[in-house]
Amino acid sequence: MTTEKETLNYGPVLFHYDLFPEKLEQHGKVKKVITKRGTFALKEAEMTEEERSWFTHVIQRLSEIGFHQVVPLYPTKFGDYTVQLGSRTYYLMPWFASDERNEKAKDEVLLDHLGKIHALTLKEQDFSNEVVEHSYQYLMNRWENRQYEMERFTEEAEQKTYMSPFELTYLSHFHQIMRMTEEAKRRLKDWYDTCQREKRYRSVLCHGKVSRNHLIFNPTGEGHLLNFEKAVLDTPVRDLAVYFRRAAHQREWTVEEGKFLLDSYEKHVQLLNEERGLLISYLSYPEPVFNAVDLYCSRRNDYSQIEMVHRLESRIRAMKKIRDFCDAIMIAPPPAPLDNSDTVPTKIHINDEGDHI
């Protein structure tokens, strides 16, 4: 239920839209605003001025280049697409009720839309040794530091007379986890070498926060993407890695399904061999397992041992599925011709400084 206080809190924001709420409901990070003029979704976010202007640029640019499956932003009566109040930023969208009939098709639509956005914004970048070198070194250093932290955790655990169930579980999978880490690093090095040899890399507009929750269906059943707050120009592999890593954690997810979805994505953007290798590299790196260890170290008193072990085991299971998925996609199709200008429509404005991998 809406309280008077809530209405007053959101009043200064909704005033910009000439909306007077009859009811406000919290749905995750979004407020459902029910008014006489219709029902709207009000999103609250923290963005800098630069992020705000990039965010609105992305939404407008997607529409200009012909991608209309984005939940539109309503302008305020003063022509702005966001409202800034203190450190908070708000933006208003139409409210689409969730339609459970479409839940099954969600992943397919999500990958299809990602493929379309990537194809529309695909750009062969002028080779910059500095960018590639920086991206490679940055990621490699980060991974090696993380690996070192995990090795230290292992050593400390091994010195204990009585290990905790969590430590025991972790240690029993340690060699396998390290093998995945080495595989990720080797694949990353391969990508770097290929870039240096071929003098090429491609960038697209990445959604930046790919998730099933960021796809909703309008009343006619058409899927629309939302939450482009973290959109960034980067390798297409970035969005794919985020999606597949998350998807593999779902109990019912299978390698076959993943393969099918990657194929449907590749109908829009055929991955280059080195990009496929980079995707395998990103996916192979066992960051989710390392995160479970971090959580164990920092908040072991907040959760029981059994909860911690369950979390770790579920992540290790997901990593195994990812490893199988990587094996399945490693059989690369014939390399795509590089000059595919017929299939690459208008390019989005590229901010080279923002490019990173």
Binding site: T7, L8, G11, P12, F15, H16, D18, P75, K77, F78, G79, Q84, L85, G86
Partner: protein, 305 residues
Amino acid sequence: MNLINTLENEYELYGIRWKEKPHIIMTDLGEKRIRYWKDYERLKWHVKWRDESSKGSGAVPDRMIRTNSGETAIQYGEQWISIHDHAEALFGCDEVERWGQFIGNLLKCAVKYDGKENLDLQTELPVFDINQCLRLSQKYMEANFSCITTSIYEAKERLKLSEAIRSKVKDSELPVLEREMSFKNGKKIFHFLFYQGGDAWPVRGYLPFRMFLLEWLEHSSPLSVKQLLTEVNKHFTLDHEQGLLLLAEIVTPWEIYDCLKQLDNSSLERMVEGLKKYEECWESNRTLVKTVTEWFDEKRRKVAL
């Protein structure tokens, strides 16, 4: 085509009808105010200060509602017309923090966009003329009214002080502000501060803010003026040159004009009444000068500690 039809075509507003011709209309989205602009440069300046000062502020100035095509105004005959929100309920001067944030933001923009980028912008720089005051007061000085002789003496001293302060910061940019800054322009919508701006040519310097502080003092207390300055200072620093420029404007004896205007020697009764008003006007301004200088002194002491 009449104005109402034009507005309905150009704006996403329906059911438009006059409430108070020619300024207030009723629409499906509530009451709106119409402003008429003969000069496009002036309109542009008013769009800019409204847009800029609203950024990140919990207070909202009456920005131009955009047309269907995103414009800030429409051309109607030989003039430009803009539409704004309109509210009646006064915000009052209890919520000093909100006022402080709004004025701080306003001053920040007023110094940043000081009209330099727009060479066509007409800005007036009010200059105090002591000689004119002396001429006006001449006939009363002979009668030796103590309040007049004392105030003229004090005015000369304050002017010297003001000039001395100004000479220290003569290279600093002055803010370009709306001619009339009034706390009565602060209205309440949803508990937030909605500020209804004007449409006159702007002025250069702190005189509008001085008038605002005087009005604030008349409706509150010296303590509240100090609180307001403290809040403004959080968003727009008065610690350096801009603070000195404000102090110089506060010390300048602008009120002597108003005091002298109160005098009327056409009859004894009017003269007595005029002198009473003269004293009241002088005293309230004196309190303002004392309050603001005290605030600056207290702030300096805190820094020194």
